[in-house]
Subunit: 318 residues, 6 copies
Amino acid sequence: MTKTQGPTNQLATPRGSGIATFMGLPHSRSLDGVDAAVAGMPSDTGGMPGSRFGPRAMRDASASLRPANAHHGVSPFRHLHAIDYGDLAVVPGSVRRTLDALEAELSPLYEAGVVPIGLGGDHSLTLAELRAASRVHGPVAMIQFDAHTDTYDTFYGTQRYNAGTMFRRAAEEGVVDTAHSIMVGLRGTVYTPEDYQDARDLGFEVRTMDDCVGLGIPQVIADIRARVGDRRVHLTFDVDCIDPAFVPGTGSLEIGGFTTREALGIVRGLGGLDYVSFDVMEVNPPLDTSRISATCGATLAFEFLCLLALARRGGADQ
Amino acid sequence: MTKTQGPTNQLATPRGSGIATFMGLPHSRSLDGVDAAVAGMPSDTGGMPGSRFGPRAMRDASASLRPANAHHGVSPFRHLHAIDYGDLAVVPGSVRRTLDALEAELSPLYEAGVVPIGLGGDHSLTLAELRAASRVHGPVAMIQFDAHTDTYDTFYGTQRYNAGTMFRRAAEEGVVDTAHSIMVGLRGTVYTPEDYQDARDLGFEVRTMDDCVGLGIPQVIADIRARVGDRRVHLTFDVDCIDPAFVPGTGSLEIGGFTTREALGIVRGLGGLDYVSFDVMEVNPPLDTSRISATCGATLAFEFLCLLALARRGGADQ
Amino acid sequence: MTKTQGPTNQLATPRGSGIATFMGLPHSRSLDGVDAAVAGMPSDTGGMPGSRFGPRAMRDASASLRPANAHHGVSPFRHLHAIDYGDLAVVPGSVRRTLDALEAELSPLYEAGVVPIGLGGDHSLTLAELRAASRVHGPVAMIQFDAHTDTYDTFYGTQRYNAGTMFRRAAEEGVVDTAHSIMVGLRGTVYTPEDYQDARDLGFEVRTMDDCVGLGIPQVIADIRARVGDRRVHLTFDVDCIDPAFVPGTGSLEIGGFTTREALGIVRGLGGLDYVSFDVMEVNPPLDTSRISATCGATLAFEFLCLLALARRGGADQ
Amino acid sequence: MTKTQGPTNQLATPRGSGIATFMGLPHSRSLDGVDAAVAGMPSDTGGMPGSRFGPRAMRDASASLRPANAHHGVSPFRHLHAIDYGDLAVVPGSVRRTLDALEAELSPLYEAGVVPIGLGGDHSLTLAELRAASRVHGPVAMIQFDAHTDTYDTFYGTQRYNAGTMFRRAAEEGVVDTAHSIMVGLRGTVYTPEDYQDARDLGFEVRTMDDCVGLGIPQVIADIRARVGDRRVHLTFDVDCIDPAFVPGTGSLEIGGFTTREALGIVRGLGGLDYVSFDVMEVNPPLDTSRISATCGATLAFEFLCLLALARRGGADQ
Amino acid sequence: MTKTQGPTNQLATPRGSGIATFMGLPHSRSLDGVDAAVAGMPSDTGGMPGSRFGPRAMRDASASLRPANAHHGVSPFRHLHAIDYGDLAVVPGSVRRTLDALEAELSPLYEAGVVPIGLGGDHSLTLAELRAASRVHGPVAMIQFDAHTDTYDTFYGTQRYNAGTMFRRAAEEGVVDTAHSIMVGLRGTVYTPEDYQDARDLGFEVRTMDDCVGLGIPQVIADIRARVGDRRVHLTFDVDCIDPAFVPGTGSLEIGGFTTREALGIVRGLGGLDYVSFDVMEVNPPLDTSRISATCGATLAFEFLCLLALARRGGADQ
Amino acid sequence: MTKTQGPTNQLATPRGSGIATFMGLPHSRSLDGVDAAVAGMPSDTGGMPGSRFGPRAMRDASASLRPANAHHGVSPFRHLHAIDYGDLAVVPGSVRRTLDALEAELSPLYEAGVVPIGLGGDHSLTLAELRAASRVHGPVAMIQFDAHTDTYDTFYGTQRYNAGTMFRRAAEEGVVDTAHSIMVGLRGTVYTPEDYQDARDLGFEVRTMDDCVGLGIPQVIADIRARVGDRRVHLTFDVDCIDPAFVPGTGSLEIGGFTTREALGIVRGLGGLDYVSFDVMEVNPPLDTSRISATCGATLAFEFLCLLALARRGGADQ
């Protein structure tokens, strides 16, 4: 099947011309016949300030993306009807209301079988995706690329919903199937030496950065695939799992992370899974002085679309 | 008359949410019932590199603009049906083809009585606006805010169409009515002491920065109004007429320019003229490290919409 | 009276050496004998993201301030015992809890007769200062330097406490004496042409930027002084009242504002009032690429200390 | 043979002192006795805007380069008479005229046996080098470090000469010997999955980034050397073959590229070939906020001089 | 008399092409027939770090300057033989040795009647100019544009030669004729309220920023002219006398300074004096994120050349 | 043993709140019971300008460090009493006086058995640490991470003490035990091909970047440990040993360096040595546009504290 609506053709229209939708995809709120919908989540109330501008920056950076993937040999928009759904409603100043609003707007997508590609925004917002996904699919598996577990209990005495706690909440709420979920790339300073064990105690599998270096990329891929199996899965990508040299524009810098080549290598090895949604979180434009972080985030979103396209057509383009 | 389609309501939707059209106006290519159309002209082949990204940057910056003007006491979108027309076709690497493409796309707007608000792009592109306007209206008057006359003959031996020559071309082509046109804000170093006289010899009136300081803002306004009279007029605003402190993000920095308060003061004094179009040129995002230049450019575009709205409703809102 | 504890002596210790307290003042939580206490309020949950880093940036920038004021002929630290009180408790992600925490920490200062110099942080936090001040002094007069009224009612349907609403809340709560309060520098786009009238309806006096240009600095000073009279007064300074050329590092850029020279001119004319506290709000370091905004904010805080010193000693140094 | 004219001695003259020629080499237009001439090509009309400032930025960054290469054990200026030839003529706004002007200025260098080290400028300019080189030497082999093939046919309907098409033009014109040419480092999004095959169809050998990772640096070196053999060869280095983390200052960012260590590793393995010229292209200073890209470009130009020096003296310094 | 050697003709050669000498003037060490010599002084050991890169940055920024001055109606290079003398020798890490080296290199210029236009570098270096000038001319008058007096005695216990003390040293050494010297633009925080009186006690006239605002530009000009009279005079311009909005790239930011329009206004009023030399000091490129400060500095140097040219030909060009 | 005074608890106090001491450690000048003292050395007179601001920037960046190390399984502040000692006295403009002042202030720490963690500042300052250490311990071994040997003899004819010469001075003065010292990471351009041999001739062991790539991280660790043995050792870390992609904010950029992951890998392998002090040098904030360099420097300082903690408690936390 070949879809007819696609991104901007840079051979005809100069890069950066036109209204800044993701890759120039049509901006639409209609879900009819849609396979995938890029959706911004412009809130940072739950995390470090600045990521609310991430969706705009990734859309802008996506102007330099061409429509095919040479690694996979696939032109995703020949196989997918993808749209830019615009931004979802958020409530600056309230994480709880923002989560509720996002869940309400995301649910129709999951119900319609449309795969959301969320552009964050701070990482707490992934909880809304998990809640909405689980309403349709039950608890979903999760592949979490991240420098941090984000499974703390409370911050500042009273804050139970923020970018450091949402995966503990997700486990408590039963919206994530921790038995088929895995965290990849954990590193950096921690609150106590037991932090990673706390995540394991919630049921998550853990692969630290040290683990990944020791195991090598192919084994990391194999471990992720084995963990997820045939479950419906949400892939969440906190860009801080990549090293600050490659992604300086994010709120929590941890030296010693993945290169983008390694990150791409893992992501490209994750074809064939049963994805219900993806997200790219924590791109922080005011801190992204060289705009390479937004480019990285946009490219990852495109790679996720390619993973979907591969599944839909069953292999590389003929 | 009150128009129903307006910009994003920031009281309901957070600033910066949603697809980045100008002020969140609807993106449309339909001219039916439209009064004003914001249109990007993303080319810099004729000038200093970087201004091709101006339209995107001004759209992004326009997210912080609220829908009413306290100075004039007007809510322009109650009186105008305004749209974001998107970007017009350009041909990177060729000024002549770009001018032709722009003229072809602009002509239907002038024919339909829609007022284009052009977002540049380098200043050479104004020639396309003048050509398209003159096809409908005959030679038009021009109010030119600029640090430079842009009436040189050729650059580099062969280049007759660029951001330093287009107003000589416009005069030669008869698309501008120089007898009712005026340049405001000239300053900075020149090629010869006779440069300003060259512009006068083409028929333009000239108010240098020195003149403006000597005359005062009210007299400058009066001089512009007297010069234009009741002619159909294009207002072109090269942001380099404003001082680099206020607009660092432009390709030709000339110290000693207008403050934004002075520039606003003059622009706000130019209501009631018979505008056929406006433009804001030479915002150069890669050089706009503090993004204040894009904000200035977007605000000017909004002020131009207000000038139009004032004319349409005949006074301040009741 | 001459105080013995003062700021870093840059003639002896190079600028920028040492732990970054405000001007190198001693960091202390003791209020014993203290006249003025610089106190950071590092929260931006109620406003544009980034101003939470304002206190650190202003402290860092204060390293270039020398200890005397040539305009007033005063060495404030000969007359005032001033300390850096550190930062007050805030709760990221919750404006209400942050306001409560700040009020609880500020109240002892007002009770002890110590004048807080608040370093923001987003402007919503001023509500906590007004609440704490009014507990001791009853409703206080307010001098508000600002581009915006910040008297809207709600944002996003549900948000009643943020940087656009707090002065409506303050009026409703009776913590500000609007009959002796005045807003200075209002400008920029508004939601409706009636926005300024809404502030007047709450009892505030209003001087727009247009007013200030028309009246001139001396008359603006006279108007402020007449409005405040002998009431106890809080001076709040949102740095966006100054033009973006001078303060690019703030969240809401409005072109056409005060120069720093004008702002200093007004502030220096406000000696002899009965100040209970001051604040400098909305310095936003991630947006302050040239760090001039933090320098401006720190200088204003120093000028406020000088206003206090003048009052304490009754004139210039002998 | 030991040359007497060399670069600035940083042990005597502080880094950054003096007129900014490349490494402080003498600026001269005389080719008498000259082995290598660094020559700027300050045009970006054919590509992304900003690279026209590349030559100045690389000259400025070269101030930190010392005159010897520890890896090779060579002091190139003991063996080469190198000069800074200044910038070659370009025609902003016209790719064709720029190519003609560059070819006219480069031809005397090739005729005199001087090896040009071109500093770009956008990558389309390499076509002028190939044309000039082929006039003297016939079709030359080419080693192309690049993320992109640059073998498209036309852009925007009419543009046949730009930074995405010039190597198709070079093949068509017969100025490059594709049978002994090779592209190294291809990656990133493409227009169709067949893009790389299109380059192969023109006769070029291709090593994608994926290939390079799979083969390892030593094999990549061997493959390049085998492909070029004893042909006269032009080495063109588009800095976008290096990852954006290492070269953020370029117009087409593609994540997942070479590290500088890998790039240096390959370049250093390419001694002993029969170079007729080199270039370093697409350094884009307005985007190079941390100036590391210009430093990388300057260092590569120095490494090219070292490759030449090794050939001239037949081994490491004694 | 019309000089034949001039700056780059931007109508023929694109802005920014070629080796970066000041305005493209010929780089020469010959003083034969030379009227004025631009000379870099790349040292910052005596002041805030970074200004050592000022000469390179001002040369680079000077590429945008055209060869004539419309205000004065003069083409300076028709009347002056001006060269770029390159940078003078400095000794990083030692102010004293740097002053000695500079004096040694400057003396031949003064002896030959060549007017140096010094590009700094930190302000302490002006002492070397005064020393060299006085060797030829005896104590010279000085016009000092500055936010600070720079007449302190010692810093850090032992440092008697730095950017805060050099004018006390100059007075002590008798190389400046304080009775005909004047400081313009003093403002900002001071060490004690008596700092300005200390400068007066050394014999300097003082015009603070407050004075200048009160007197108005024409009177300030008159005061300077009256003070200097017919004495041989050195004009030193510390760019921090201009407001940080206009010159963010300098080491000592003081809000409330001159606009560039005011500064140009004063400088342009200072024709006809008997200048022996000029300098532009304290442009600090690492802090000049929007490069407007280097542009300002380069423009001032050009204005100084124009003042010289006016004197040489006795009026505007015919 | 568990220490009671520790860093800021980010679970309770938001990141970036409070006076910016290193990790929020108590600022104290008392050495009583102290194990380790972070001490700033804010001077850059001996090196490239800007590193004097390194201590403040690293303290600010340290706000994002959490108190435990997952790699080592250690919470260092349970085992160490660490303080922020503030900044040590320096004398801008004089390297010699600065070295004397630093030595005088450091000696009491070494005498008291407190381990200084120096935050530079330019690399010449390490000489003061070696002098002070040797007064207590005799000549100490040194582990030097660096791109450069810093063993040149003189610069600019007269300068014997700067950031390129101090380790020759240290060897000559007998304060470093070169027979147990090793340089790691040397690379980049050199003055002559013999530069590294010059360091070996002084007795230092050398591992170039080429060596490290060839040997692999484990062997590099083994070589360092073997070289140092059981000697008392100072570890000095010039951040330029890390690649500019990871540390753009330093004065001497050399492409092709360590990744932070490699650097961390080596540092973490150096537990159990008899450290007398550490330093992190050459972080240059004005050049650190993305602030990742200061984050890297602060993280390294934390890792050094962890190495100390491991030694003190004899293994991972229980």
